[in-house]
């Protein structure tokens, strides 16, 4: 009798502590594996120590006149510009096809056709059309971020509770007011989810875009590493991609929490 109750009481906190330690354990394991692998073939798998050294060296002797932060910033800049354009345009388009049956009829099918084409597939044609400057790279990232924002905005607008619209109608709201006072605010959480997806998808796309014909950015850094057989540089680039990507996810979630304080789901997390 006392056994079950007391047992559970004691076990829970221990389990909690254990669960909060587990991420460190798994990261340590990865490091150990890395050490082990680098012992077997240090040319292909440089040790953590030499990767660290390469990172320091990057600040002492920049690649293409830029240290690591410079390259991170170059990539981020492209993502931000593309994301800003995609948010403005994507939300507008999403709201329009979500709200107006006519717009949906005109653009819906067209959009469904274009949507499955991944941004990378646009790469060749965009390079052929626009060359290898800054604009085509941003354009590719834009394509990768635009789609998730449109889709989420559209779904958010479609899923507005009819009851909320009725409430406003009972107060004699005009069509415009229905859209701006009810539909759009209620769609904000899905729109933000779209922006979050877009950010991560944009981050992936920019790296791919930079791997072809670029002079700055993390993608460029990795390609440069491959060209010069500088494996530690590749690893530095990859680690930077992972860390920046994770930070971006945390920041977007923070902004979402700030702007949608009514969203209960976020609060509970």
């Amino acid at each position: 009798m006392k056994k079950t109750a007391a047992y559970d009481q004691k076990r829970r906190p221990i389990k909690k502590i254990l669960n909060s330690l587990l991420p460190f354990v798994s990261i340590t394991c990865l490091f150990l594996l890395w050490f082990y692998a680098s012992n077997i073939n240090p040319d292909l798998v440089p040790s953590p120590a030499s990767t660290w050294e390469r990172l320091i060296q990057l600040f002492v002797k920049p690649v293409n006149k830029m240290n690591l932060f410079g390259h991170v910033w170059a990539s981020l800049q492209r993502v931000f510009i593309a994301l800003a354009c995609a948010t403005v345009l994507g939300v507008t388009v999403g709201v329009m096809i979500g709200w107006s049956k006519t717009f949906k009829a005109i653009f819906g099918t067209l959009f469904e056709l274009i949507r499955p084409i991944p941004p990378i597939a646009w790469l060749p044609i965009i390079i052929m059309w626009f060359g290898i400057g800054e604009f085509p790279k941003i354009l590719i990232v834009f394509i990768g971020t635009f789609m998730p924002i449109v889709v989420n905005t559209y779904t958010g607008i479609r899923l507005v509770m009819p009851l909320h619209l009725d409430v406003a109608r009972m107060f004699n709201a005009s069509n415009r007011q229905l859209l701006f006072e009810v539909a759009i605010p209620s769609a904000l959480p899905p729109i933000f989810a779209g922006i979050r997806n877009a950010t991560s998808s944009g981050w992936m796309t920019v790296l791919a875009a930079e791997m072809i014909a670029s002079k700055a950015g993390l993608g460029f850094l990795i390609t440069r590493g491959m060209d010069y057989f500088d494996v530690p540089l590749i690893l530095v680039g990859m680690l930077a991609i992972g860390i920046v990507g994770a930070l971006l996810a945390i920041i977007t979630e923070f902004i979402e929490r700030l702007l949608c304080p009514w969203n209960k789901k976020l609060e509970q997390d």
Binding site: M1, K2, T4, A5, Q9
Partner: protein, 248 residues
Amino acid sequence: MPNDDVKIKVRNLTKYFGDLHVLDNISFDVKKGEFLCVVGPTGCGKTTFLNLLTKLIPPTSGELYINDEPADPKIHNISFAFQEPSAFPWLTVEQNLEFGLKIKNIPKDVIKTRVERIIKLLGLEQFRKSYPHQLSVSSEQRIIIGRSFAMYPDLLLMDEPYGQMDIKMRYYLEDEVIKLWKEFGSTVIFITHNIEEAVYLAERILILSNKPSTIKKEVVVDLPRPRDFTDPKFVEIRKYVTELIKWW
């Protein structure tokens, strides 16, 4: 006072959530085949109380005994009828009724006779092949309750299953529960906010106090059945219990 008829013993049940003292030293017995109602003011630890009885959460201290053994979901059969209709939408009425019995590995022919009995008692013959969404909410609730009785539970817990229904319907369903209870001789703990419902159903009513909840009073209801809500004796008990809760 030793009593062979005692089926359920609750002893010193206490629950804290952190510093929040929700239940305080609750002890009571339920006789075999008794219909016990539990009422309390809004915001008393009703849900916690239920969750402790179903063993969904562990108590801080105290224990629940069934047949003098510590209750164990692996040995004992505790059935629970939820407030919200919870029939499986992918099963027919008949399959829903069979569901729990199959999980308990009860022989096929036994399952068949029991399910037949329930279907007949509830008058659901024409709906046996229907899916829950084809029935009304009240009928879905009837299946759930039928399903709980069909388990021959050691303890059947019901959490305000008729909360949202209109009065006429509620009396019909309450009569039906009494019918099932008499037929199966189950031991029932029925939790409700509705004092009239408690007086209509119960042989005995336990009244919980505000948090930290404890048993404030026990009221025996020995009115003949079927009961009449306009009967002065009925009104008197209802008034008495209401006074004790004093939520306004």
